[in-house]
């Protein structure tokens, strides 16, 4: 069963002089339990596609379905509610908020709409941090963490909500080889163990061995969509 589906989805941007099409109509379905890598050169439209899937960008054409519900033209607030409930995000930069502790950052989504994280959620957050090797950083400020640690905190922030979909934009780009592999192993395990849809946008070849499915984009068009062993 597919949870998220994009159907003939395209995106145009206006650059001040003319309308430019950055994503030509694409149709893709994503199913839980697999790690999908969307790969392609810079400017190929992969981040635009990820933004549309993540409901942070509206398509110029086509439809997006979430669990067979048309979410193409939902309001900003409804999109925010969807993201809060069902999505987890790992960005190219960890994007942790300075001034908040590691634990505060992990629990950020629970407070984003004014709620308070329960003790159970806090316990879960601490367990996730522990699993990611960050148990002794709970009360530390992001500034005192290494790049790899920060990225793992951002993964914990995405995992703590137990999202159905995990969207990762170049999660290894700012990491060294060792940390990059650690992060990809965590994401892969999350897709399998938690039956999540994990979509990784990257042009880093190090991520390919972890892909269950590889979608290649060039010039705003999908040039291949394959399921094979990339090791």
């Amino acid at each position: 069963m597919s949870v998220i589906k994009v159907e003939n989805t395209a995106k145009d941007f206006y650059d001040g002089k003319q309308i430019r099409r950055v994503l030509f109509p694409v149709s893709i379905e994503f199913t839980p339990g697999e790690l999908v890598v969307i790969s392609g050169p810079s400017g190929s439209g992969k981040t635009t596609l990820l933004s549309i899937i993540g409901l942070v960008l509206k398509p110029s054409e086509g439809k997006i379905y979430f669990d067979n519900i048309d979410v193409t033209n939902i309001s900003d607030d409804t999109a925010a509610n969807f993201r809060l409930k069902y999505y987890g995000f790992v960005f190219q930069q960890p994007m942790l908020i300075e001034g908040l502790t590691v634990l505060d950052n992990v629990l950020l989504s629970f407070g984003a709409q004014g709620g308070r994280p329960s003790e159970k959620v806090k316990k879960t957050a601490i367990e996730i941090l522990d699993k990611l090797g960050l148990s002794n950083t709970i009360n530390m400020q992001p500034l005192s963490l290494s790049g790899g640690m920060k990225q793992r905190v951002s993964i914990a922030r995405a995992f703590v909500k137990d999202p159905i979909i995990l969207l990762c934009d170049e999660p290894t780009a700012s990491l060294d080889a060792e940390n990059g592999i650690i992060v990809m192993k965590i994401l892969k395990k999350s897709a399998i163990d938690n039956k999540r849809i994990v979509i990784v946008v990257s042009h880093d070849v190090r991520v390919l061995p972890f892909a269950d499915r590889l979608i290649k984009i060039e010039n705003g068009m999908i040039v291949s969509d394959t399921r094979e062993n990339y090791k």
Binding site: T47, L50, S51, G54, V56, L57, D76, D77, A80, N81, R83, L84, K85, Y87, F89, F91, Q92, M95, I97, E98, G99, L100, D104, L108, S109, F110, G111, A112, Q113, G114, G115, R116, P117, R157, D169
Partner: protein, 373 residues
């Protein structure tokens, strides 16, 4: 949680928080200080009606303030005393003269003549000795803060006003006028110095009994004294204050300096909050991406502004109270009515939010898609 996030962000971003705090403190302190001087000066303008202990003032027709006016006939005293509900009626003679200082120079003074032995309308608070010193024909009472202006006369020292001998017999506290240095003396002495005709006075003060209907009696007095102005003390005080606000530089100067203080504070708050939000646009985009709505971002920014404003108001009032403690007995006219404090706090909160509008606008523009670039 949003408030906690705002609080932690504000604490972390120390330079911005300090900058915005300074803006808020500037508003509270400068406006508060201006207000205190303004009200201090206003108190000086209406010092006589405010402290006369009389409920009604009878003065000449068509007066514009308590300091102007012609002399009125003393025969009105007999007419007023006959009105039911009147407890006492006392004349006051206001004149002018020049006080001879110890170095031979002169200082113009405003003389307030009081009828013995009641001495109503006289000094209400004494620094040294008491009002009974004015029972002596030669005695005068001057204010503590005017001593230096008058050449530091000692108690019981004999000086001259308008070439007439007077004895500085008492020192008052807080009996200062707006139009000049006040010197309290007996009616006879003021009449002698000012050379006013016999049986004529500047004002007639009327005290009513507790059960008297003030408005009714004032109405009666207006009927039987058609050639006079009859005011309650409060009306005369208000009239005098209004006169000086509109006819001197007090009002304009206060309005200008207060506006500059508010503007300075608003500019500081605007710039610091704007810069702060601009530098944290990415954080707001992250919050939006992970499920925060625009209103959540607004709550975070507003909470931060409120937090900074509350602390700024607290520090501002602490500084103000320190200033007032130092100036309360100084020559700087300073008075801060209690009802002004919440008003000033409210205005400060309002202008702080006004100064934060640009920042809020920037924060609301935080695009969740931005986190993917």
């Amino acid at each position: 949680m949003r408030i906690l996030i705002a609080l932690k962000m504000a604490i972390h971003d120390r330079s911005t928080t300090t900058g915005a705090l300074i803006g808020v403190i500037v508003i509270v302190f400068l406006v508060g200080q201006q207000l205190s001087v303004f009200f201090g000066l206003l108190n000086l303008t209406s010092v006589l009606p405010d402290h006369s202990n009389a409920e009604v003032w009878v003065m000449s027709k068509n007066i514009r303030n308590a300091d102007s006016g012609n002399l009125v006939s003393g025969s009105y005293i007999d007419r007023i005393i006959g009105i039911k509900g009147v407890e006492w009626v006392e004349p006051v003679l206001i004149g002018s003269g020049v006080f001879k200082r110890d170095d031979g120079s002169f200082e113009p003074v405003r003389l307030i003549g009081l009828r013995r032995p009641s001495l109503h309308g006289g000094p209400w608070n004494f620094y040294q000795r008491g009002e009974q010193v004015l029972l002596d024909l030669e005695s005068v009472v001057i204010d503590r803060l005017d001593l230096s202006k008058l050449g530091h006369p000692l108690l019981d020292e004999v000086r001259e006003i308008g070439g007439k001998r007077v004895k500085v017999a008492g020192i008052a506290e807080g009996a200062r006028g707006f139009q000049g240095t006040l010197v309290f003396a007996t009616l006879e002495k003021v009449k002698e110095i000012s050379k006013t005709p016999a049986g004529r006075y500047s004002a007639i003060l009327v005290k009513l009994s507790n059960e008297a209907d003030k408005n009714k009696i004032i109405g009666n007095m207006k009927e039987i004294l058609p050639n006079c102005s009859v005011f309650s003390s409060q009306e005369l005080s208000n009239l005098t204050r209004k006169y000086y606000i509109t006819n001197t530089g007090i009002g304009g100067s206060f309005f200008f300096s207060t506006s500059i203080a508010i503007l300075t504070g608003v500019v500081i708050v605007t710039l610091t909050m704007y810069t702060s939000v601009l530098s944290r646009a990415r954080d707001f985009a992250v919050i939006r991406a992970i499920g925060g709505r625009k209103r959540d971002i607004m709550i975070i920014v507003i909470s931060e502004v409120f937090f900074i404003t509350a602390i700024g108001i607290f520090i501002g009032f602490m500084l103000l109270s320190t200033l007032f403690n130092y100036t309360v007995k100084s020559e700087i006219p300073s008075y801060f009515p209690a009802y002004i404090a919440p008003l000033l706090a409210f205005v400060t909160i309002f202008v702080s939010f006004l100064g934060s509008l640009a920042a809020i606008r920037v924060a609301l523009k935080a695009d969740p898609a931005q986190v993917f670039h």
